[in-house]
């Protein structure tokens, strides 16, 4: 008997999760060994691991919130798998919605028709594959092409890198302004981002003036969590 929370679906998702952990652990060990060979200090490696882990806690919990959102519609195990491999809530929700509407199934209730569920499963899986296919079969060529794009000028290569980051950052900073026409509450994301930036500037001062070098690796996750905490009073004041 089909159910969106069938044990078989949990089994499938569980296997995927094991695969992800194995692959990540494999690359982690490999990179740590190589770091040693390159003369990167154990301290830096340890700090990188700790800081990246700390950095991931809040986004991971927000991904979990996405899993819960989708679970009301297609059960718990399937969104668990979709958001553990190459997923992001921003893709998965519209993909599931489109598949459901093609089957004439409402997104407001749990799916009970196995054919509708399998359509959603196929669409959510096939929709996300292009990046992975391109990386698996084309990464070497793409990287070769990028090296020749930067040319022999080393400084220009560095500037090109920085310009690429700034392109990404500017798109997301622009995004903060998308709701300003809604009035005061539309400014909440901007104020939160500013408070995060101010926290970061304070961390920068502490690192430079007071030589708190230990803070370097942890500044980003701490500022992010700090700004998320500040978003509670900011939202209360501005909405």
């Amino acid at each position: 008997m089909f159910s969106v929370n069938h044990p078989f679906l949990y089994l499938l998702s569980g296997l995927v999760v094991v695969f992800i952990i194995v692959q990540s652990a494999f690359f982690l060990v490999k990179a740590v060994k190589q770091a040693k060979k390159l003369g990167i200090s154990t301290d830096t490696v340890k700090k990188t691991i700790l800081s990246s882990s700390l950095f991931s806690v809040a986004p991971a919990v927000s991904i979990l919130v996405g899993v819960i959102t989708l679970s009301k519609f297609i059960g718990l195990p399937f969104p668990w798998y979709r958001l553990s491999v190459l997923g992001a809530v921003t893709y998965e929700l519209p993909a599931a919605t489109l598949a459901a509407s093609a089957m004439g199934v409402p997104v407001t209730e749990t799916v009970t028709d196995p054919a509708a569920f399998s359509t959603i499963a196929w669409v959510m899986s096939l929709g996300i594959l292009s990046g992975l296919i391109l990386v698996v079969f084309g990464l070497k060529k793409i990287q070769g092409g990028m090296v020749s794009l930067a040319g022999k000028d080393k400084r220009w290569g560095e500037i090109l890198q920085d310009a690429l980051f700034l392109g990404m950052i500017s798109a997301f900073v622009g995004l903060l302004f998308a709701n300003v026409r809604q009035g005061l509450s539309g400014f909440i994301p901007i104020v939160v981002a500013l408070s995060s930036a101010v926290l970061m500037a304070v961390c920068g001062l502490l690192i430079k003036k007071l030589k708190w070098t230990w803070l370097e690796q942890y500044a980003m996750p701490l500022c992010m969590l700090g700004a998320m905490a500040l978003s509670l009073p900011i939202t209360a004041l501005m909405s």
């Binding site: 990167i40 986004p59 500037i159 994301p189």
Partner: protein, 233 residues
């Protein structure tokens, strides 16, 4: 064979990362096809062809384009190992890319170097493991966690993850290169204020911002208005 001559020689480490990256990547691809297949077989429920095609037609053109754009945007930031891992584990813009950028910045290594590649891989691997474990734990403890995670008190914090992330990340990178940052920033702010509905397709605007930044950087560099010395962080 032409690219063999022009491509730089890869170190043994890079070659082995490519080899293992491909093996894991192919397994991931197979898994992603086997899962819907297993669902269809186990429940003997196949998607009706016309509904499947209709839904795919709505999803594929946009998603596959974004996927391809993401590869060209993020590969130079993530490096070899980071790309193979990041494009399997996902959540790139909201988690893996910022984690890698932050780690390289803190460790004072540059992307595109072998040191940068190694640090980026370590950051993405640690981030993937923690994220996967937290989600798995959350799924099993859902009964306890759901009221807390869905409480209206905490909602603003989750709504504001991206501003909290890009505020801190932005100030670090913008303050290092204000001249390159100014034009794409102004462009994006004005664009989003004029067309708020674009917020759904921010991934497509990332390469637009990058092209503007690269264009401005090229002009400034040629005019000698940027620091000309290599190795400047």
């Amino acid at each position: 064979m032409k690219d063999k001559k022009t491509a730089p020689a890869l170190s043994p480490y890079e070659n082995s990362v490519h080899a293992y990256g491909r093996v894991f990547g192919v397994i991931a691809l197979v898994i992603m096809l086997l899962i819907p297949l297993a669902v269809s077989l186990y429940f003997s429920a196949w998607p009706p062809l016309n509904a499947l095609l209709k839904a795919l037609l709505g999803v594929l053109p946009m998603y596959w384009t974004v996927g391809i754009i993401e590869v060209f945007t993020f590969v130079p930031m993530l490096g070899t190992g980071g790309s193979y891992l990041g494009f399997v584990t996902g959540n790139l813009t909201n988690l893996k890319v910022p984690a890698a950028l932050n780690a390289m910045q803190a460790a004072k290594v540059r992307p595109g170097t072998e040191e940068g590649d190694v640090i980026s891989t370590i950051a993405i691997a640690s981030s993937s493991i923690i994220t996967t474990l937290i989600i798995a734990l959350g799924v099993f403890l859902l009964g306890y966690l759901q009221p807390l995670l869905e409480s209206p008190v905490l909602k603003p914090a989750f709504d504001n993850i991206l501003p909290a992330l890009f505020g801190a990340l932005g100030v670090v990178f913008i303050s290092k290169n204000p001249k390159i940052a100014a034009a794409p920033l102004v462009f994006m702010v004005v664009l989003f204020m004029l067309v708020p509905s674009l917020s759904k397709s921010v991934s497509i605007l990332v390469p637009v911002g990058a092209l503007i930044a690269i264009g401005v950087a090229r002009v400034l560099y040629k005019k000698g208005l940027l620091d000309q010395k290599a190795g400047k962080n």
